[in-house]
Amino acid sequence: MSLYSYLRSGAERVFRPAAIGDEMDEELAVHLALRADDLERSGLPRAEAERRARIEFGARERYREECKDAKGGTSLVTVFHDLRFGLRMIRSHGWFSPAVIVTLALGIGLNTMVFTLINAALFKPVPLPGGARLVAVASRTPGNGDDLLSYPDLVDYRAQAHSFAALEAASIEQGVLGEPGNPPQVYHLARTTTGVFSMVQMHPVMGRDFLSSDSSSGAASVVMIGYDLWQNRYAASSAVIGRHVRVNGHPATIIGVMPKGFKFPTAIDLWMPLVPTPDDLRRDNRELQVFGLLKPGVQPSAAQAELAGIAQRLATEYPDSDKNFAALAMSFNERYNGGGIKTVFLLMLGSVGFVLLIACANVANMMLSRGIMRQREMSIRAALGASRWRVMRQLLMESVLLSVMGGALGLALAAAGVRWFDLATADVGRPYWVQFTMDYTVFGYFAALCILTGLLFGTLPAWRASRPNLNQVLQEGGRGVGYHRDGKLAGVLVVFQFALTLVLLTGAGVFVHSLLKTLDSNREVPSRQLMVAGLKLPEDRYKDIAARVRFYDQLLPRLRALPGVTSAALASNPPGLGSAENPAEIENQPASDPAHRPVVSYVTASPGYFETIHLPLLLGRDFSASDGDRNHRAAIVTRETAQRFWPGQQALGKRFCLFDDKGNRGDWITVVGVVANLEQDLTEQNPKPLLFVPIQQEDWDGTSLVVASDANPTAEVRGAVQSLDEDLPLHDVYILNQAVEHQTWYLRLFSRLFMGFALIALVMAAVGIYAVLAQAAGRRTQEIGIRIALGASLRSIMLLVMRRGIRQIAIGLALGMAAAFPVARLMASLPIGVSPTDPEVFIAVATLLVLVGLVACWLPARRAAGLDPVRAIRYE
């Protein structure tokens, strides 16, 4: 029989069962009538003839059923029947179904959400033409991670590698775009090789592409602008093509506008051709991010092998610069979303996996306890000859139906969650091509998840329920049978839930603990009244530190004179926003081995900085204008640093020196003051000893303004800066507390996420233990009534009900702790900025869990203790 006729017959039987039955009955009736006619003709009375005809026909019902089967479409029909019956059961179970559906919606929704995020951040190719063939090429040195390549490297790889259809590079820096009559602004600038746009088959929506001649030395300087920049800075004017602007002070001409949303390779607004300078041509000057488009059919591993071979040849040819350098071809996701981000995402996946397991355990528990109530139904069905498989299939169908309904709700939750995550991370420098949207992969995962979930929580209860002990159940009216057995299973599931919840709570606790620690730091700093902004003085206009200090000396009085401003100062990094780190040597305490020199973190500061940030000066004096020159190298250390390096001694007047990045020893520096402690690196697990040096002591080309004011002085500060140099933009402009928030965004984000996961798990576990105890107490209503009637005390009744729950909580707690310690240790060891866990986190988490668990046990116990014995004994 063809599939079509099978389906048609099945569909007919599904949708018009009555019509089929009628036609068949009519045919059989005609048969009986015809036979009776014959018998009547042979002389029997009509009534007798009809009776004989029915006898001769045989077991009419059986043949009817056989006819139905013979007509085909049966398995489709039973599936449909199971489905309809399942729906009817789901509708008819009051609170049960909504509880299951909400539980599953949370479990499935969270998993779908996290999978969407992971898929986007770790697996999806870059959404550009040929994106699946796009790879990032990086150099790798032992112990140093993935890094950049030099221009001569690129030239060699281009000449020797045959796996690539194109190899292009970009060097990313800050670009200040300025022109007369338009205030300068800082953008992300990529200096790229000229083929980068055609490699990804993207072309300007207006104007022209880069030409290879644009990169030859002496060519007129040109710049390509991004769509958003065009919209915001130039109001989408078409006259922008050919406009003369300054980029970092150099004249250039805008030649085109890239399409909307294009910010290749990461978050770029401005592109200029890379014109290699003599400095760029040094082999050890590695500043390029390199991207390759694999030729069709070439596997990344083959390209990788080829690059490795070339890197080896280069290492032999140029041992001075290329020794120990390997080259890697990897996906964009590996290159830009590896390391810490990957770990956090996998942690998230693990967490929501736990939540789903808890949800399944919970639902399985509900199904189990309902299975006991339905034992009579199952027994009757089994006694009527339903096979075990048929009963199980029916029950599994119900489970999968429930999980699909939960999934539909979960999908809405997931969509909302993904949207929220997308907005929460819009501003934290994630590559523009990581787009958190749902796609077919996600839906496939989602569908599989729904069905698997249904099977996961449905199989065990269905297996149990489909094997009732027929005689016992039917004789005893289904009361109490299987209670002990299923009670044990439910207990195991509750223990398992509590253990998992504890692990999740610990994970969340670690994040929240780290977050609270950062929020609690630097309380004395009035971060809501401090405006901070970055300032970068370009080298071509401010040749040396003296020129820069002259600028600062002009600027600071103007800032202090602004209305509402109470004080203003300069620091390389405002409080909590990082520092520079270098090894140091304390006078008279030389390290035995250069590798063991203590590393200090240091910040440059202008006079008046400590006053501005309200950091008390404990000893000595603030910096003065004469500090910092060759003969007056000075430093102010924190109290902690002073105690660390000169324990029990007066730190004032002590000397130390710093080593630069190449290991050269600097001048001796004298400690002139001691300030209170400050936490400068909020995300650092092991902060280094902190000290401050005068701003003129380090030859750095930028600084941050720190301005204390009652109102937000941003506009006035910008005006003051640009009254001195109209090409000088402010960057990273914040009120300090916002800057700190921005700095610790991921702690906030993941604290919220993991807290959410853990709380959902906690609620589920609480509901789970409540449901199990309430069920158990409900089944013992008569017994409890008798006990009360016989004079049992309130306490002993409560204990009777709660005892089991308390034991389960205790076991769950023990198992959970055993798992939570390694998890916390693992998290602290990962490079994700969480601090090592204190015992208080475990104590807090365990207390919370026990309290919630006890309340969940207490509720059914109280109800049992309040039973009216007369009604309880009659309870059926």
Binding site: S9, H31, Y63, A70
Partner: protein, 113 residues
Amino acid sequence: MGDQAQILPGTLDVLILKAVSLGALHGYGILLRIAQISGSSLLIEQGALYPALFRLVRQGLLKASWGTSENNRRAKFYELTAAGRKRLHSEIEGWNRLAKAMAAALSARQEEI
């Protein structure tokens, strides 16, 4: 009834096909026809006919339509389809071969070996 034989499993289908091949019949008519052509020597329980009929329709060997019987009752008439006719021929050939082989085997005598 002693001279009636229970039909072999699987033979009902071919008997139905044969009966119908001689002209469209309703269910009861098919039973009568089988009784007639087999000389009333094959016993079929009347109800068992119908599952077989439904099965043959499903397999596309028979087609059914409603009509009026000789004594003016509305009844469902069955007739062979082309596929049914083909099937009947192959079944007949198979039966004849089997019957011949069985007959030869069962009539074998000592001296022929």
